[in-house]
Symmetry: C3
Subunit: 344 residues, 3 copies
């Protein structure tokens, strides 16, 4: 499972916008690359190699000086373009004295970074994660750190039959979810899944948000695209139209899976509600419920990773439920091979 | 020292009977194999590969449903024979969807598991660890987890001269133990050691149990057999027959060394008393004294393992005292080679 | 950076004299070698391989018996010359039953050990670390344990431009230190650096010790020699001679960098004052200030090591400020190659 390499010619979410404050030096490692992120006086975020080119001290332990960062080991000062602008005790500054910079795009509330070939970095390729910032949706931002390879998390997202079991008491509530096979459509860079159940029990979390307790119809329609981005429309309504007034709960979720290392992953997530927009207790309750459910995912996925790592390698057994995840893993491997072919 | 492989065609103690309760899913790793142990409604213990064949989640995080276990990741349900009996969302269940099972034998109070060729698993090969459950013996069950290779623990057991030094203030009390060479007999699958000392000081632990303080005779007669099983008869009595009435202390100990990984080991042990059978304070005191002594062993053996691992490799220096341990290591290596020859 | 091997034909500081008390068994690992140090009844320190030659238990868990040490696993007893003098249960003691000893020299307050070819161990080669014990100097002994390769610490010492940045609020206080290039002289086994600044701000630490707050002249003159030994003369005085009375602060510092493993290092240090000799509050304040500053070094150097280890290898960028450290690293590598050539 996993692979020693990551797709590089992709935009990755590196941070929530609020994580990179105006006066801050923010460090985050993605794809094994330690990054320094900071916001210049114009408000733009820049991403620099965190490793000072001189003696490899972390610039994140350095000091902001205007739009520059000074390494606090021997005092080299770098501009937001990565060029060294001061070397204490040395007047000539060779143009080779610089740290690498990476393309950055801030879209809605996420800061995206591109680690691959800069010539290919087109911000228009970033999917529209609209519910992150939209007048008809409300949400609270979420982040988790996983001790697992990113593809195990993608697997999890690509088979919602786990809702019936992992999330029995939170987002599940019914074995009908697992018993129903979703429609799976292949996209150029991912997969689209549509799963609907009728006359079923609601999710315990949704009852807390006002969903009807009687028989309900539920749906999950989502795209999951490379390198690991989820756009999920879901909801619940009374199966009997007569009971439906005021009780349809409509959600939208954006999630981004960003590898930190081969065995650790950043998980950026949020789930927005499209009802009771002015009721912040709904926003809080929805957020708390999702965090509780994602803790359940983390427990099983990290245990899965540990078991895989601590026991002799063996093949996984493919089932019908694996259609989407197998397709996605296949896409990922082909894209990886293509990148490796192109770069050699 | 050690080896990357373990003997597999052997019965290993995997648990005390009370560790595997009726409604429980019990996980333990032996020889690098993660096992799920549980007791069916008939009371029999079954041992399954803990790794769900589907996506390798641990079944030990699953749920008992009658005599079955359900993986709580995607809901696959397995019978006690390892066969999958339900795949949510899929009607056909290929016979290949199953987890491996391992032969189990419950004898007296220990649960034994066989990881090698099942055709060779003969429970009659399990030594009679009689004192674990016997009307003339009383004991409390003990367990320790070692951060050391199992053969370092076998070494420890195979040279009781360490009683004089490691256990000076617990099980030793006299340098005469180390000064006396034991009789060593080679058994087909192990070694028999007989060590007797006369007119010596008693063990501090034994004085607490009522042993005479004056000169005593002491003995240790034991078999240690593959893969790491101890049956030990020992005791103490006044050297002067006139002082002997009521003061002979007779013990029997069963111990099982089961590798968890190359560098960690399970240690199952107990020491039974064959006197004052109805006095539970003796049982407690004996148990506490043995635990204190085994903590002394653990300290020196783990320090030995750390020193071996952190310093350049060098040869150990063979002494006369190593006769039994050298013979046992030799037996172990030959049995290992034979297994490897047979399986290739 | 770093290297898998260490220079061996050198004296290394292994301990402060007070660390090895009269009745003690003191363990320390240097160059990956676990050493047992103890002081015989004559007061001399001996250094033995800590690994008992029998079963590799640590002698440091053993027992002093006169000038001997007894291994508390199976009772072997070794003299201060490493020869085994007792094997319990065995009368003949082959001359091969012994542990290795290493040349030791106690000079002033440091205990030096030689791990290389004993024939080359000449204590006269130990530099005179005079201020460790001298009627005109006062100091308190310091020790730190670094999670970094020793050469990163040598680098730190060989470029004092870091005082302006790492130690801005302790030993620095002025960017003039980094802006001034030192004079660098090549020594046979090291390098001599002379750095002087005039009409500058004093170090915050020195103001606490009574240095003038006005413009001051400051100097650092030091030798740094293989394998990692510092002798540093430094001080501060008022730039205006009229303000100078009673305010010249003169320091001398001895420091020794001893590798423990490839990624951990012992740092022995002290800074002595040559003024106010009878005022122990000065000695305390100087010591506390140096420790605070060395904590600053440790933070940046350990972060540097972590970043180097966790990111893909890349070249460091040589600057003019690296003259001395590049020369020292060069000397180290050449000496290492020479040792390896000689020993093969």
């Amino acid at each position: 499972m996993g692979s020693a390499a990551f797709l590089r010619n992709c935009w990755y979410v590196a941070a929530w916008e609020h994580e990179v404050g105006p006066a801050q030096l923010f460090q985050r490692t993605i794809l094994g690359q330690s990054l320094l992120l900071f916001r210049t006086s114009s408000g733009n975020v820049v991403a620099l190699d965190n490793k000072c080119c001189h003696r490899h001290a972390p610039l994140s332990l350095g000091r902001r000086e205007g739009d520059c960062v000074r390494c606090m080991y021997h005092g080299l000062k770098f501009g937001p373009d990565g060029k060294c602008v001061e070397i204490p005790g040395q007047t000539a500054i060779p143009s080779t004295v610089r740290v690498k910079t990476f393309p950055v795009a801030e879209r809605k509330r996420w800061i995206w970074v591109w680690l691959g070939d800069p010539a290919k970095a087109d911000p228009d390729a970033i999917p529209d994660m609209f519910s992150l910032e939209h007048p008809q949706w409300r949400m609270k931002p979420g982040y988790m750190h996983y001790k697992a390879n990113h593809l195990l998390i993608s697997d999890n997202i690509l088979d919602f039959s786990h809702l019936s079991y992992v999330h029995e008491k939170t987002l599940g509530g019914s074995t009908a979810i697992a018993d129903t096979r979703p429609k799976t459509e292949r996209l150029e860079r991912g997969v689209r899944l549509t799963r609907e159940i009728r006359n079923a029990a609601p999710a315990p979390n949704h009852v807390k948000l006002g969903a009807p307790e009687g028989p309900v119809d539920r749906w999950w329609i989502y795209d999951y695209v490379l390198p690991g981005l989820l756009l999920l429309d879901s909801g619940v309504k009374a199966s009997n139209p007569e009971n439906r007034s005021g009780h349809t709960l409509h959600f939208h979720s954006c999630q981004a899976i960003t590898p930190e290392t081969e065995r650790t992953t950043h998980y950026f997530f949020m789930q927005a509600h499209g009802f009771s927009l002015e009721d912040s207790s709904i926003t809080d309750s929805l957020y708390n419920g999702v965090v509780a459910a994602f803790d359940e995912d983390q427990r099983i996925v990290e245990a899965q990773q540990q078991l895989i790592d601590s026991t002799p390698a063996s093949e996984m057994m493919g089932l019908i439920a694996d259609t989407a995840l197998a397709h996605f893993r296949n896409l990922y491997q082909r894209a990886l091979q293509q990148e490796q072919t192109e770069s050699s």
